[in-house]
C-alpha cells in the first residue's frame, strides 16, 4: 500500500447545467489520444486504425464512430484524435497497443477540457462566440473543426443535430466555461 495516493480533479468535473432548452455538461472520463501518421507509413497506419476500431480514419474535419463507441476525429492530414470514455490515466498505452506501433500516439486527455452543449437554441448561443458557420450548410453533423472562441483555441464538433462538443485547453477551462455560459445566458 503506497503511503500517498493521488486523486483526479479534472477542471470541469461534474458540471451539468440547464438553461431553458439547453443543457451544458462536462463529459465524464473523456480520454483523448492523438494519432500521427508516419511520413511514408500512412497506409499502414490507416490500415492499423481501421483494424483497431473497425472504421476508417475519416477525412480532415470529419468524425467516425466505432462500434465500441470510440470517436475518431481527423484534425489534419497527418493527425487525428481518438476520443473515448476511459477513467484511468493509461489511455495512450491502450491506443498504442491497439495500433501496434504503426502510428505515433500522444496522450491528450489532460490537455483538453470538454463541454457538451445541446438544445434547440444551442446554435444561437454558439453564434455569440464561434466564428465558424454553424448552419447545416456549413457544418454538418459528424464534422469537427478547429477555431478560436474568446481568444481560446477550440475544437468544435457537431455530434448531433442540436448537440455540440467543445474542447479547449484545460488550463483555461474556467475562462472557457465562463465564455460559454455567458453566451448561453445572453440568448436564453
Amino acid at each position: 500500500m503506497p503511503e500517498f495516493t493521488l486523486t483526479a480533479e479534472p477542471p470541469l468535473m461534474g458540471l451539468n447545467e440547464t438553461f431553458g432548452d439547453m443543457v451544458l455538461r462536462a463529459p465524464a472520463d473523456m480520454a483523448i489520444v492523438s494519432i500521427a501518421l508516419p511520413l511514408g507509413g500512412e497506409e499502414a497506419a490507416l490500415k492499423a486504425i481501421k483494424a483497431a476500431y473497425g472504421v476508417a480514419m475519416p477525412e480532415v474535419g470529419q468524425m467516425a464512430t466505432s462500434k465500441g463507441g470510440e470517436t475518431l476525429m481527423r484534425m489534419s492530414m497527418d493527425q487525428g484524435f481518438v476520443v473515448f470514455t476511459h477513467p484511468t490515466p493509461d489511455a495512450n498505452a491502450i491506443v498504442n497497443a491497439k495500433l501496434k506501433g504503426k502510428a505515433y500516439t500522444t496522450d491528450q486527455t489532460d490537455v483538453w477540457c470538454a463541454l457538451e452543449l445541446s438544445g434547440a437554441t444551442s446554435r444561437d448561443a454558439l453564434e455569440r462566440i464561434c466564428p465558424l458557420d454553424l448552419h447545416d450548410a456549413g457544418f454538418a453533423v459528424g464534422e469537427a473543426k478547429r477555431t478560436m472562441m474568446e481568444h481560446l483555441g477550440t475544437i468544435i464538433a457537431r455530434t448531433d443535430t442540436d448537440t455540440w462538443l467543445l474542447m479547449s485547453g484545460s488550463s483555461s477551462a474556467g475562462s472557457f466555461l465562463h465564455a460559454i455560459e455567458t453566451s448561453i445566458k445572453n440568448v436564453s
Binding site: M1, P2, E3, F4, T5, L6, T7, A8, E9, P10, P11, S34, A36, P38, L39, G40, G41, D78, Q79, P89, D90, Y104, T106, D107, Q108, T109, D110, V111, W112, E127, R128, I129, C130, P131, L132, D133, H135, A137, G138, E150, H151, L152, G169, S170, S171, S172, A173, G174, S175, F176, H178, A179, T182, S183, N186
Partner: protein
C-alpha cells in the same frame, strides 16, 4: 402642451400613449415614434445648442445623418450623451436632456460666443492660442473644451453588458429600403441564405416616409408585406435596429445591433451586439441622404430637410410646422409641399431656384420661381424667411431640399473613390469596391422608386449567379418613376449673413472660403482646418455642399476637388460595444496551474505571466511582506528542499523517425546524438542569429522526445517548429503536438530533493545518483502505479528534479509532495524565489533573452555549432555579432553591500561621463540574495569576460541613482555545479 402638432395618419400605434420627459418637461408619444418625432408632435422646436457658437438648434433630419438634435438619454450610470434624437426610439418613461449649454436651454449663457463670431472663424484657435506655449495644455484647451463640446459622460461604470457575434450568409443586403427589400426578396425566393440588415426599427426605408405606391398598395404596406414574407422564411435573417457600419476584407462586415436601447430596461441582456458578418456576396442598398442649401441663418430651429418633413408627416403623423414653406432646387422637394397640403398643413410658399413652371400644383401655396431664400428670422425658432428679392414670408417651418447624395460610404472603406455624375449632381460609387459588393438603388444613383426596385432585383440576381445559385423567377414589384430632375445649386450668394454648411461643427460658407483663401485647398485639409465633416454625423449632410463650395471658390470642378475618404464606422459605435464582454476580470482568458487550488489554500499570492496565474510566493504565519516569504523560500530550498509548480513551461511532444535530425536543425547546439533517457539544454536562434528561446529536451525513447520551452515562448516555439516541419523540411518524419496543459510538472529542488521523491516514486525505480544522474530522464510510476515522468534538471542550481503527472492529478500531487516533504521541512516556492535562485545560479531568462542578444553575448557562443545546418547559425556569425568586445553576460555585485542594485541601470566606466557614447551595457536582472546577504545582478557589459574584478558605475538616470558595482562571474552560487550533480 400635449401633442399639439400631431396630425392624422402615420405608422404609429395610437392605441397606446407613452410618457416621456425632455429637460424635465412631461410629454407624450406613441409606440412607433422616435424621440424626434415625439418632440415634434409636442411642438418642441428648440432641442439643443450648437457646438461652437451655442446657436439654438432644432431637429434637422429624420435619420442617422442628424447633425443637430443630439441629446443625453437616460440618467445616472445609464446616461448616454450625443444620441441622435432622430434614431432614438421612444419608450415609456424615456428621459432626455439637451446638451452643450450653461443655464437653461432657452437662455444659454454661452450663447455670448455667437456674438463673438467675427473673431471665431476657421482656424481661430490655431492662430490665437499660440503663446505662451505652456498655456495650451493647462489653460487654453480646458477652457475651450468646457465651452465647446457635446454631451458629458456620467463618469460611472457602464452598467449595461454588450456582446459580440458571428454570422454567415450567401448574400448580405445592407438596407431594407425599396432596393434592399427587392434584393432580399429575389435572393430569399431563390433559396440563398440572406441577411437583411437595417438601422431602422421599421424596415422599408423611404417607403415608410413617402406616399408612393408599389404593386397597387402604399409603399409602407408593400414593405410590411414583404417583411412578413421574408420573416417567415428559414433562409432569411432579418435584422432591424442593425447598422452595418464597416466593410472589411474578404466580404466581412461589421454591424451593430441595438437590442435593448428601445426598452426602459435591458433586463440583464446585452444592450448591443457587435456582429461580424461573413458574406459570400453583398448588396449595398444604403439609400441616399438629402442635402441642404446654404443661406443666411439657415440653422434656425424649424429649418429642416424637406424629406425629413415628409417623414414626420407621413410616417409619424406629426407636423414640424403649421405654416410651412419649401425651398428646393429639384422636383423631389415639391413632394414635401404636396404631402403637407394633402394632410391639411398650410403651405404658403414653394421657392424653386429653377426658372420653370411648377412641378405640382400646390393649393394655397405661392410659387416663387428662379428665387432663393436669403435669410431667416426668429432666434429660437424660425418666424419668417426673406427671399433674395427682399420679400418676407412668415413661416414656422422651412423645408429645404438641395438634392440627394447616394450613401456611398461603405463602398469607400477599402479606398474606393466615388465618381461624379452630372445628371444627378452627386457622387456615386466608383473605383474598386470591396470584394463581393455591388450597389443598388439610391445608393447607386438610382433615385426613383421603380429604378431602385428593379436594380435591387438585378444586383441580387447577378450576385447569386456569381456564386452558383439559380435565381427563381418571380414577378418584380411595380412602381412608377417619379420626377427627379435637379440642378446643381449649393448656396445662396445673395446672403450676407452667416450661411451654415456643417451644422454640427458650426462651419459656414465663409469658413470654407477662408480655408481656400489661406491655402487649405485640398478637401482633406479643408476638413481638418474647418472641422467640417467631423463628429457624430461625419458630415452626412454637409460634406458634398462643402466641397462644392470649395470647388466653386477654387475655380475647379467638383470631381477635381473629390471627396474625403469615408472610413468606418458609418455611424457611431459605442466603446462599450467595441469592448464587448472583454471587461474587468474577463478582459482576457486566464490559465490556471494544476496546483492553483492548493496554492490558494496555502497562502499563494498570484502574478499574471502571460495568461497564466502563477504563485509568486506563499505567505506563512506572520510574514509581513513579500521579501520575508521569498527570502525564506530561497533559504529553505537551498537548505533542504522546495517545490515549485513549473507546469507553465511549454511542453512539446516530438515524435518521428527524423525527430533527432529535426531537433538538430531547430536547436543551435547538437541534438543528433542524445541518448535515450537523457536530457539536454538547448538554445534556439531566430533566422537572424539572435537567441530567442532556451529549454531542455528529453529523449524518452528512440523516436520520442519531450521538449520544454520558456513559458512566454511556448506558442511561438511550437508555431516556428510547425513552420519548419511543414515548410522547411516537409520530407522529415516529424510530428509535434503540445502537451503543456496535459502534464502537471513540479520542480523539486534542494539537497533533500531525492529523499523527498523517494517517498513518492515507486520503489522499483532506482533514484540513486549513479542510476539516475544529472540530466537523466525516464518514465516512472508514483504513489502505487500512477504514470509519471521524471527529469533530473535544475534551474535553481540545486540537486533538483522535475516530476510530471497527468494534469488532473496536479493539485493532489502538490499536496502529496508537500506532505511527503514535511519531515524535511520542505516548502512550496513561487516565481520570485525561482527568480532569485536562477539569478544566483547565473541562468538566463526572459530579461536576458530579450530579442537583442546572441549566444555569444550570453557566453554560450561555442554551443552554436557551425558543423551542421540549423536555424540561425549562419547569420549568428556576422562580424558585428561576434566581435571580441561584444557585450557578455556577467554577474554584478555592489561595492557597498548595503546598496540595492537597480535593473535597467547602464554601465559606465569610472570617470567617464554618463552618456550614450560611453554606454558599456546594462543590468538585466537583480535580486536580493538571502544566501549571500546582499543585492546581486546579471547584466551585459562590453568584453565582460575579460573584466572580472573591475569596478564600473551602474547609472540609472530614470531613478536618478548611480552606484559602483564589481564585475564578477554570473554564477554566484556553486560555480562548479557540485550541488546539482550531488
Amino acid at each position: 402642451m400635449s401633442q399639439s402638432n400631431r396630425i392624422n395618419g402615420g405608422l404609429i400605434d395610437r392605441s397606446q400613449t407613452w410618457d416621456f420627459t425632455f429637460n424635465g418637461k412631461k410629454m407624450q408619444g406613441h409606440p412607433g415614434d422616435t424621440l424626434a418625432s415625439a418632440l415634434i408632435a409636442n411642438g418642441q422646436k428648440l432641442v439643443g445648442r450648437s457646438f461652437k457658437y451655442h446657436r439654438p438648434r432644432g431637429i434637422f433630419t429624420a435619420g442617422s445623418e442628424e447633425p443637430n438634435a443630439l441629446v443625453q438619454l437616460r440618467a445616472g450610470a445609464h446616461q448616454e450623451p450625443n444620441t441622435r434624437a432622430t434614431v432614438a426610439e421612444l419608450f415609456d418613461g424615456l428621459t432626455a436632456t439637451s446638451q452643450n449649454h450653461r443655464g437653461p436651454l432657452e437662455y444659454d449663457f454661452m450663447a455670448v460666443t455667437d456674438f463673438l463670431s467675427p473673431f471665431l472663424s476657421a482656424g481661430f484657435y490655431y492662430k490665437t492660442f499660440m503663446w505662451p506655449k505652456a498655456f495650451w495644455e493647462k489653460i487654453y484647451e480646458p477652457i475651450i473644451r468646457s465651452s465647446a463640446g457635446l454631451g458629458s459622460l456620467s463618469m460611472k461604470e457602464d452598467p449595461d453588458s454588450y456582446d459580440k457575434g458571428f454570422l454567415h450568409c450567401d448574400l448580405l443586403v445592407i438596407g431594407a429600403g425599396p432596393s434592399g427589400l427587392s434584393a432580399a426578396l429575389t435572393a430569399a425566393r431563390s433559396g440563398a441564405r440572406v441577411i437583411l440588415a437595417d438601422e431602422d426599427f421599421r424596415p422599408g426605408g423611404r417607403l415608410n416616409s413617402e406616399t408612393l405606391e408599389v404593386d397597387g398598395m402604399s409603399g409602407s404596406d408593400w414593405a410590411a408585406h414583404t417583411v412578413a414574407e421574408l420573416s417567415a422564411m428559414d433562409n432569411v435573417r432579418l435584422m432591424t435596429r442593425t447598422t452595418v457600419y464597416g466593410a472589411y476584407d474578404h466580404g466581412t462586415y461589421g454591424a451593430l445591433e441595438k437590442c435593448t436601447d428601445h426598452l426602459a430596461s435591458s433586463g440583464g441582456k446585452p444592450r448591443q451586439i457587435l456582429w461580424r458578418i461573413y458574406s459570400k456576396r453583398a448588396v449595398l442598398a444604403a439609400g441616399a441622404t438629402e442635402r441642404p442649401i446654404a443661406f443666411g441663418n439657415n440653422d434656425r430651429p424649424g429649418v429642416m430637410m424637406a424629406s425629413a418633413v415628409r417623414t414626420y408627416v407621413n410616417r409619424f403623423g406629426a407636423t414640424p410646422g403649421q405654416q410651412v414653406a419649401v425651398f428646393t432646387n429639384n422636383d423631389d422637394g415639391w413632394r414635401t409641399a404636396k404631402d403637407l397640403a394633402d394632410k391639411g398643413v398650410e403651405v404658403n410658399a414653394v421657392i424653386d431656384t429653377r426658372n420653370q413652371p411648377p412641378v405640382i400644383e400646390i393649393p394655397g401655396a405661392r410659387y416663387h420661381r428662379d428665387a432663393k431664400v436669403r435669410d431667416t428670422i426668429g432666434r429660437k425658432g424660425i418666424k419668417a424667411i426673406t427671399l433674395a428679392d427682399d420679400q418676407v414670408i412668415p413661416v414656422d417651418c422651412l423645408a429645404v431640399s438641395g438634392g440627394w447624395n447616394p450613401n456611398v460610404h461603405l463602398t469607400c472603406h477599402q479606398r474606393g473613390r466615388p465618381e461624379w455624375r452630372d445628371d444627378i449632381n452627386a457622387f456615386v460609387p466608383g473605383g474598386v469596391l470591396p470584394v463581393g459588393m455591388t450597389v443598388a438603388g439610391a445608393a447607386n444613383g438610382q433615385l426613383s422608386l421603380a429604378s431602385a426596385l428593379q436594380e435591387g432585383h438585378d444586383q441580387a440576381a447577378a450576385q447569386l449567379k456569381d456564386i452558383g445559385i439559380k435565381v427563381a423567377k418571380a414577378k418584380l414589384p411595380q412602381a412608377e418613376d417619379e420626377a427627379r430632375e435637379s440642378v446643381a445649386f449649393w448656396h445662396v450668394k445673395e446672403s450676407d449673413k452667416r450661411a451654415w454648411v456643417d451644422l454640427q461643427n458650426d462651419v459656414t460658407v465663409k469658413d470654407v472660403k477662408l480655408a481656400n483663401h489661406e491655402g487649405f485647398r485640398s478637401v482633406e485639409l479643408l476638413k481638418r482646418y474647418t472641422t467640417m465633416g467631423m463628429a457624430t454625423d461625419q458630415g452626412k449632410t454637409s460634406n458634398i455642399s462643402g466641397l462644392a463650395i470649395l470647388a466653386e471658390e477654387a475655380g475647379k470642378t467638383i470631381p477635381e476637388v473629390g471627396t474625403t475618404i469615408f472610413r468606418p464606422p458609418y455611424t457611431p459605435v459605442p466603446m462599450g460595444a467595441l469592448g464587448g464582454r472583454a471587461r474587468g476580470k474577463d478582459f482576457r482568458p486566464y490559465r490556471l496551474t494544476p496546483s492553483h487550488k492548493w496554492a490558494e489554500a496555502n497562502g499563494g499570492s498570484f502574478v499574471t505571466v502571460g495568461n497564466w496565474m502563477r504563485a509568486e510566493w506563499y505567505t506563512r504565519g506572520n510574514e509581513k511582506g513579500w521579501r520575508d516569504s521569498v527570502d525564506r523560500e530561497v533559504q529553505m530550498t537551498r537548505n533542504s528542499v522546495g517545490i515549485c509548480d513549473v507546469t507553465t513551461l511549454g511542453k512539446i511532444d516530438v515524435q518521428g523517425k527524423d525527430a533527432a535530425a529535426f531537433l538538430n536543425k531547430v536547436y543551435a547546439n547538437g541534438f543528433a546524438k542524445l541518448d535515450v533517457g537523457k536530457v539536454r539544454y538547448g538554445i534556439m536562434l531566430r533566422e537572424d542569429g539572435i537567441c530567442y528561446d532556451d529549454g531542455t529536451t528529453a529523449r524518452m525513447s528512440e523516436n520520442h522526445y519531450v521538449m520544454t520551452t520558456t513559458t512566454a515562448n511556448a506558442v511561438l516555439v511550437f508555431r516556428r517548429m510547425e513552420f519548419a516541419r511543414q515548410c522547411l523540411w516537409p520530407n522529415m518524419d516529424v510530428h509535434l503536438i503540445s502537451t503543456t496543459d496535459g502534464w502537471a510538472q513540479f520542480a523539486v529542488a534542494g539537497p533533500n530533493a531525492r529523499n523527498l521523491l523517494r517517498k513518492v516514486v515507486d520503489d522499483e525505480h532506482d533514484m540513486s545518483n549513479e542510476a539516475f544522474p544529472f540530466m537523466a530522464c525516464g518514465e516512472v510510476t508514483i504513489c502505487g502505479g500512477m504514470p509519471a515522468r521524471l527529469f533530473r534538471i535544475s534551474f535553481s542550481g540545486e540537486l533538483a528534479y522535475e516530476i510530471a503527472v497527468p494534469a488532473r492529478y496536479g493539485n493532489s500531487m502538490m499536496s502529496v509532495l508537500n506532505e511527503a516533504g514535511a519531515e524535511f521541512d520542505a516548502c512550496p516556492y513561487g516565481t520570485e524565489a525561482l527568480g532569485v535562485m536562477r539569478i544566483e545560479k547565473g541562468h538566463a531568462a526572459g530579461n536576458e533573452l530579450n530579442g537583442q542578444t546572441t549566444a555569444h553575448n550570453l557566453g554560450m557562443g561555442r554551443m552554436v555549432s557551425q558543423k551542421k545546418e540549423c536555424i540561425g547559425n549562419v547569420l549568428s556569425q556576422r562580424p558585428e555579432l561576434v566581435r571580441d568586445d561584444a557585450i557578455k553576460l556577467m554577474g554584478f555585485k555592489p561595492v557597498n553591500p548595503e546598496t540595492k542594485l537597480i535593473a535597467g541601470s547602464h554601465f559606465i566606466n569610472k570617470g567617464a561621463e554618463a552618456n550614450m557614447d560611453n554606454d558599456q551595457g546594462w543590468m538585466t536582472s537583480v535580486a536580493y540574495s538571502p544566501i549571500l546577504g546582499h543585492s546581486i545582478g546579471l547584466g551585459f557589459i562590453k568584453s565582460g569576460d575579460t573584466r572580472k574584478g573591475e569596478i564600473v558605475r551602474a547609472v540609472s538616470p530614470l531613478h536618478g541613482t548611480e552606484m559602483e558595482v564589481e564585475i564578477c562571474s554570473a554564477h554566484f552560487i556553486d560555480p562548479e555545479g557540485e550541488r546539482l550533480r550531488a
